[in-house]
């Protein structure tokens, strides 16, 4: 019975995270919520008796996908920072 309640809680958390990513405006917040989403998902795989999937989802889903999203955002802010640098001191940049 305990397993059912825990699974229900996690599934509610999943739906909450999914809707939160759709709704949130700031991209960094979306990415972090998505990382939490795939962490919850890896625990849900465990409860569904699929341990292979939970390790893979944890390592590949939360791990690498999260890093890729974060790096993509970092690269995008980096371009803005360049554009900003170019405006305020064009002379200094050769």
């Amino acid at each position: 019975m305990l397993r059912e309640i825990f699974l229900l809680l996690l599934l509610a958390g999943l739906i909450f995270c999914a809707v939160a990513t759709a709704v949130s405006r700031r991209l960094m917040r979306t990415v972090i919520i998505f990382m939490a989403y795939s962490l919850i998902m890896s625990v849900v795989w465990l409860l569904l008796e699929a341990p292979d999937l939970s390790i893979t989802e944890a390592a590949v889903g939360a791990g690498v996908t999260g890093i890729l999203f974060y790096l993509a955002l970092r690269r995008i802010h980096q371009f803005d920072k360049d554009a900003a640098d170019k405006e305020n001191e064009p002379g200094e940049r050769e």
Partner: protein, 132 residues
């Protein structure tokens, strides 16, 4: 068929995990279609895929049975769940990662060139560039 409304709710309550996986698929699908921001589209794509995988694994699950790792030589099938869906979803998760990696690199290159994540703005800039 479902005579009364109450039967309907009992059936949905029993299969709550199937309902959740289809809700996730729906949320991911709508985010993919409606979000103007490319990054949100990729997140929606991932949520859509995990929704399908949840549905697939929930079809392989059998109550009261354990993960298909043969414990101390007991190979009686009544003890283990169906291993096929978890094998298929393992392949699926890796497909989702490679697709996400490609979409993110596309987004970075698009931003490098057009400085926008909004697909319509990118079309405008592209049309302007096409006709100049």
């Amino acid at each position: 068929m479902f005579t009364s409304f109450e039967d309907l709710w009992v059936h949905l309550a029993d299969n709550y995990i199937v309902v959740v996986s289809i809700i996730l698929f729906g949320v991911g699908f709508t985010t993919l279609l409606f979000s103007r921001n490319l990054l949100k589209k990729v997140v929606g794509l991932n949520i859509m895929d995990t929704g399908v995988y949840l549905l697939l694994v929930s079809m392989g699950f059998i109550d009261g049975r354990h993960a298909p790792i043969i414990a101390n030589g007991v190979t009686d099938t009544a003890h283990y769940i169906n291993p096929i869906p978890s094998g298929l979803v393992l392949t699926g998760i890796v497909v989702s990662v490679s697709v996400t990696a490609i979409m993110l690199s596309l987004i970075v290159r698009l931003y490098e060139k057009y400085h926008s994540l909004n697909l319509d703005v990118i079309y405008e800039l592209r049309n302007k560039e096409e006709h100049v």
